[in-house]
Subunit: 333 residues, 2 copies
DNA sequence: AAATTATATTGAAACGTTTCCAAACCTATG
DNA sequence: CATAGGTTTGGAAACGTTTCAATATAATTT
């Protein structure tokens, strides 16, 4: 069943059928009705390949997701999928490993799939510097701020990680904690860097000298890494009363480790997380955390991309406000 | 940059270039080398639209995901994405709402995208009965057993939900619990039905009469629903010592509710879950649960689909073994 | 060296659309 | 009633591939 068959059946030319299908003006009401009727009757569907062959452009948008152990990203991908479900675009998901170069991979996939737009979940600046200028299509960096990266076709939507982290640590400090450990972070991850910076700033604001900063233990954003990092921290000699985990999943891992060590949260140690994943509200104790509006981040990213695609909107670099969700895992001392 | 340019540049015909690109036999070493060299030099990429136009078939596989509040599915989707990353296929994800008819939607998308294979995450039998026979391409039902549904082109990979649930409830019964509540389930969900059946069987095996079965409260698989359902249960008059939650997320919601009610798990009430989501191992108390090998379910689903696509393998209906992960949320009484 | 066979290459049609130009058809105006 | 202007339609080229029949070239056999 092709456009040609419809043409033959209705007695119109294929040109006319095509025009009807594409809502072109200059086609009579009568023709439109006859043709649409035939189309519906046969459940005819346009051959996208043939269409793209002519129009060159596809309607593919690629989302490149970096890092595969994250609990947050799959949910964000889902949200973004749902967003595009309502549009005429096709979203193609491409996962890349933590260590891989997401920009090179993105470029490759974009060429293969003839993508017209690009979303990147969790990229890092180093890789962008190396290769982003060769990506010609509009792109949005989701979750990372790229305001000062200086790329022409790149937008970004994120929370202000430094401020968020600062707020988290300040909250701990206001509650009397003085030795606030930092849990998590991997080299080359921009979110880690930003959040660590916030941790430092907050301590400086409270007049803590650099040599008196709490201890740090790195690790990727996962339950397991949080658990292990906390175990290491508990073995350390410094007495810790507060922990700032760079991600909720780490916070949860950490609480689990604390509890396995026979201590309790928040009685012995207070823990604050970052992200605002749903489980946090049901965890025992309920997790105090900096909540990013991931739904809004996702939606806004999609909006910006589509605006640029369809209305030639400018690139933007937006911060979505975060909130401190005060629950049970932090205690005043 | 098209195949034609490559042809012109190397002096060969476009036919020859095409054959080189497709690894056809009957092309000289010399031609192959010259052409590949030019291809690499220009970073030439075949136009998929043009290719598909001729070959008719795409290499698209659709995954239809039913239900959007689930914590398990996004992770499974990710796993499946990763699987297909290594293949020549393109996976297109399509989410449908809990109430929607996944089969009709699947058919529609398959036509639009000219898909050659289909994966369905969380379908139900009623919808299949209505419309699956009109789907002509190989499909695999992931997570539900369809052995007796009688569809020609449908495979399925799942755990034996009835047996898993029975095992869970037996475990509670063996630990001395006699009034085991059932938490969760929505009408029309096949997994719920199967698991409820297991709950009934286990009680029968222990000689409990139907009128003495524990109470049931329904709800979708989410933290929140688990929380609410448990709250309702706690208000009931029957004294409950054990709870079987149809999904880990519900179990976690339930534990949270129990704890908010001033009781504790497992001291006052034992809870067992189903699924084996990662957080379970880090929750406090650590969640005892029936763990499905979701990775293996995913991988096996993909394998079966591809086997059918490429080697005309038969349809299969496989059970992947589950395990009882005994942790801390169940106590002997 | 000629005849036969196997291998390598070419040329052209076909896939299902879109789009542009020209032709045909209206309708209103002078 | 002829003409202009606008609207509607048809026809054909073009998009970048694959594929197949036909041809050219090389290898093998006699």
């Amino acid at each position: 069943m092709t456009i040609k068959d419809i043409a033959k059946e209705t007695g119109y030319s294929i040109g006319t059928v095509s025009r009807v299908l594409n809502n072109h003006p200059n086609v009579s009401e009568k023709a439109r009705k006859t043709i649409m009727e035939a189309v519906d009757r046969h459940g005819f569907i346009l051959n996208v390949s043939a269409k793209n062959l002519k129009t060159v452009q596809s309607e593919n948008i690629i989302i490149v997701v970096k890092g595969t152990f994250n609990e947050l990203f799959p949910v964000m991908v889902q949200r973004i999928q749902m967003y595009f479900r309502e549009t005429r675009y096709t979203l193609i998901t491409e996962y890349v490993d933590e260590e891989a170069d997401e920009v090179t991979r993105a470029r490759q996939v974009c060429l293969e799939k003839k993508a017209i737009g690009l979303l990147i979940l969790g990229g890092n600046k180093e890789n962008f510097k190396k290769g982003f200028d060769r990506i010609k299509i509009p792109a949005v960096l989701v979750t990372n701020h790229a305001g000062d990266w200086g790329f022409e076709n790149l937008s970004s939507v994120s929370t202000d990680d430094t401020e968020g982290a600062r707020k988290a640590v300040e909250f701990l400090l206001e509650n009397g904690h003085r030795n606030v450990a930092l849990l998590g972070g991997t080299v080359g991850s921009d979110t880690s860097t930003q959040r660590r910076l916030g941790w430092e700033k907050a301590q400086e604001d409270f007049g803590i000298k650099k040599e008196d900063f709490g201890p740090q233990v790195g690790g990727r954003y996962s339950f397991e890494a949080g658990y292990e990092a906390m175990k290491k921290l508990l073995k350390g000699d410094k007495k810790i009363t507060g922990v700032f985990a760079l991600a909720d999943v780490m916070a949860i891992g950490a609480i689990s480790a604390i509890s396995d060590a026979g201590l309790s949260v928040p009685e012995d140690i207070s823990v604050i997380g970052y992200d605002g994943i749903p489980i946090g509200a049901y965890f025992c104790p309920k997790l105090t955390t900096i909540r990013q509006s991931i739904d809004r981040i996702c939606d806004r990213s999609c909006e910006i991309l589509i605006d640029r695609l369809e209305n030639e909107g400018k690139t933007r670099h937006e911060f979505i406000p975060f909130t401190l969700d005060e629950r049970q895992s932090v205690k005043k001392i």
